[in-house]
């Protein structure tokens, strides 16, 4: 008797145990004017908290990968956890479950501490594919993905405009000045998704909304992750915000009267301002 021959390499690689983790930040609503407290931290109003708009693309990408490959999409959030609205919304969009890392000691954490915490949570989750947004709409740092990758000792493929998992590898495309760059890494790996992926994030489905409450959300503390309060929070922050000035949006206008030399002046203006 022959042993059954191994199946030909499947065209589409499906893995029912694949763990796709989407790191999602809860950010203040873009419709509400932002303000800073005396501690130079953003004033957060739980009822005006939304999914970081950049992360909507990431969640969509996670769900699309899951539809193709199988497995679970887990939403990972570090935050105060005063409202579960953004997490529930992500679950209503179709994610499988959620993990909230919340601990009073985390208040005031900088990007390094955030990366440290996320890395610990991702290790505990044994994530295969980790997806990040390109940045957050409140802080615009854009460095958490690389810091997390560093803590995990895993590859990060950044600013993906296309993500494809085949076999045990993830391959991305990234827009370059001319054309695009392709990069590949073995799983497990981290990928940050660029807004330019333009994947049309879905609306939560009505069924999703009705079942979101039945989906599990676990809450983990620092102790659950084996981390020390001294490594995180405002005390451990390497960076301190010392001031903030609103962007001046005043327009500079120059009106040129008379036709003589107008074209020349417009040309000079465009050159002076490095427009041409």
């Amino acid at each position: 008797m022959h042993a059954p021959s191994p199946p030909a390499f499947p065209q589409i690689w499906r893995n029912p145990t694949l763990k796709i983790v989407v790191c999602m930040k809860e950010t203040p609503s873009t419709e509400v004017p932002k303000s800073l407290g005396a501690d130079m931290r953003l004033v957060r109003n739980p009822s005006d908290t939304i999914i970081n708009p950049f992360d909507e693309y990431t969640i969509e990408e996670g769900l699309r990968q899951q539809e193709k490959l199988g497995g679970d999409v887990i939403i990972l959030t570090m935050g105060p956890g005063t409202t579960n609205d953004p997490m529930r919304r992500a679950l209503a969009m179709g994610a499988t479950s959620g993990v909230l890392v919340s601990d009073p000691a985390l208040a005031g954490s900088d990007a390094v501490a955030t990366g440290r915490v996320l890395a610990a949570a991702l290790k505990k989750l044994e994530a295969d594919l980790v997806l990040f947004g390109q940045s957050s709409a409140d802080a615009y740092g854009g460095i958490v993905p690389s810091i997390t990758a560093e803590f995990m000792g895993m590859p990060l493929l950044s600013y993906a405009t296309k993500v494809e998992v085949a076999g045990n590898n993830v391959t991305i495309e990234r827009e370059a000045e001319v054309g695009y760059t392709t990069a590949t890494a073995p799983l497990p790996a981290l990928v940050s998704v660029a807004k330019a992926i333009n994947n049309n994030p879905r609306y939560p489905s009505m069924k999703g909304i009705m079942t979101a409450k039945k989906k599990p959300i676990e809450t983990w503390t620092l102790a659950d992750l084996g981390l020390d309060a001294a490594q995180v929070g405002a005390g451990a922050a390497k960076e301190r915000v010392t001031g903030a000035t609103p962007v001046s949006t005043q327009r500079r206008r120059e009106i040129y009267n008379g036709s003589a030399g107008a074209a020349q002046r417009i040309f000079e203006f465009l050159v002076e301002n490095k427009i041409i």
Binding site: R88, R89, A92, P204, M206, K207, I209, M210, A212, K213
Partner: protein, 383 residues
């Protein structure tokens, strides 16, 4: 008394508001101008679970409560009336009868694809000669062997002729009742049944992107099993269907009135005359205040009627009142919205001219205002 919406109700409301703003409003003018049924949009709404919102999960729906469905309709109507009426007619008139009166087999066969938004279904009650007098049905169905043979005509039937219309449930006279009155039965007629002729789309003043057709039945044969509910109980069934439908229409009207208020408030703040925004004139402020008050009143009325319905309590009177008040309030709102816009309000470039054309029919469909008043008076036992 607690008016707090549940997390699910809030979430459905917010999602529909965003969807109406981002996906419906931008195409509303074009589909109206072209009188074009928005097939792709309706399919997308089906995928989102909107077309089966209050139908239980076991039949392919989202399993939301009746108020959630009304909240969703209000938001969708705020985006566009044609889209909202397509959803309302499909759910309240087309799908609900299967859920309420269908056998398990009929539910699996017909309701599941409807709730999943793969098909639309129509309800054919009105006839060329029987409108407000809906019991005056002339369409007849005769039992021949194990088939029903249907002959007659229906008028103004919503959703009957779209590319995804699965069929229509019609009322037909199937004999006499012991009291000598006509026995009316609901029959399921799938699209494509020989003898079922769907007329060309009717040209309308408003709701132009919704599908409204005259239907003809010419020796149209369906199997005996295509009876929906009890034979001879059709009149009672559609009275029940229309009660809940009126609450949904009231919610739809609130959405239209809210859209009139939104546009008016925005415009009044931008438009300057005599060196000031017109919103600073008390005459305009009073119009806005009245509109806001009527929107709120109409909303409270449909909330209460929906609540009674969900509690399993009688709600027919409240449904008639909500439908009557909301439809008339939305007409007043549209009228004032055009007035606030001045000449621009009369132009197609501003949505309020479309709103004005769209509100009128709510005083007619699913029971005219006169019929609602007759009903309310009956509840008062005024004779």
């Amino acid at each position: 008394m607690d008016f707090t919406l549940t997390d699910e109700q809030l979430s459905i409301q917010q999602t529909c508001r965003a969807f109406a703003e981002e996906a419906i409003k931008p195409i509303a003018r074009e589909i109206d101008e072209k009188s074009e049924f928005p097939l792709a949009l309706i399919k997308e709404m089906g995928k989102m679970g909107l077309m089966g919102l209050p139908i239980p999960e076991q039949y392919g729906g989202a399993g939301a409560d009746f108020l959630s469905y009304c909240l969703a309709l209000e938001e969708i109507a705020r985006g566009d009336a044609s889209v909202a009426i397509t959803m309302e007619a499909h759910i309240s008139l087309g799908s609900t009868p299967f859920y309420l009166y269908g056998t398990e087999e009929q539910k699996q066969k017909y309701l599941v694809p409807l709730a999943q938004g793969e098909q639309l279904w129509a309800f054919g009650l009105t006839e060329p000669g029987a409108g407000s007098d809906s019991g005056g049905t002339q369409t007849r169905a005769e039992r021949v062997g194990d088939e029903w043979v249907v002959n007659g005509a229906k008028m103004f039937i919503t959703n009957a002729g779209t590319p995804i219309s699965g069929g229509v449930t019609v009322t037909a006279v199937t004999g006499k009742r012991p009291d000598g009155r006509n026995a009316i039965t609901n029959l399921i007629i799938p699209t494509g049944t020989p003898g079922y002729v769907i007329g060309p789309p009717l040209k309308k003043m408003g709701w132009k992107a919704s599908d409204t057709r005259p239907l003809n039945f010419d020796d149209c044969r369906v199997p005996a099993e295509n009876v929906l509910g009890e034979e001879g109980n059709g009149f009672h069934q559609f009275m029940q269907i229309l009660d809940a439908g009126r609450v949904a229409i009231a919610a739809l009207c609130v959405g239209l009135a809210q859209a009139c208020l939104d546009e008016s408030l925005h415009y009044a703040k931008e438009r300057k005359q005599f060196g000031k925004p017109i919103s600073s004139f008390q005459a305009i402020q009073f119009k806005l205040a009245d509109m806001a008050m009527e929107v709120e009143l109409a909303r409270l009325m449909y909330y209460k009627a929906a609540w009674l319905h969900m509690q399993g309590q009688p709600f027919g009177k409240e449904a008639a009142m909500a439908k009557l008040f909301a439809s008339e309030a939305s007409k007043r709102a549209a009228d004032q919205a055009v007035q606030i816009h001045g000449g621009y309000g009369f132009m197609d470039d501003f949505p309020v001219s479309r709103y004005w054309r769209n509100v009128k029919v709510n005083e007619i469909g699913e029971g005219t205002s006169e019929v609602q008043r007759i009903l309310i008076a009956k509840y008062l036992d005024a004779r």
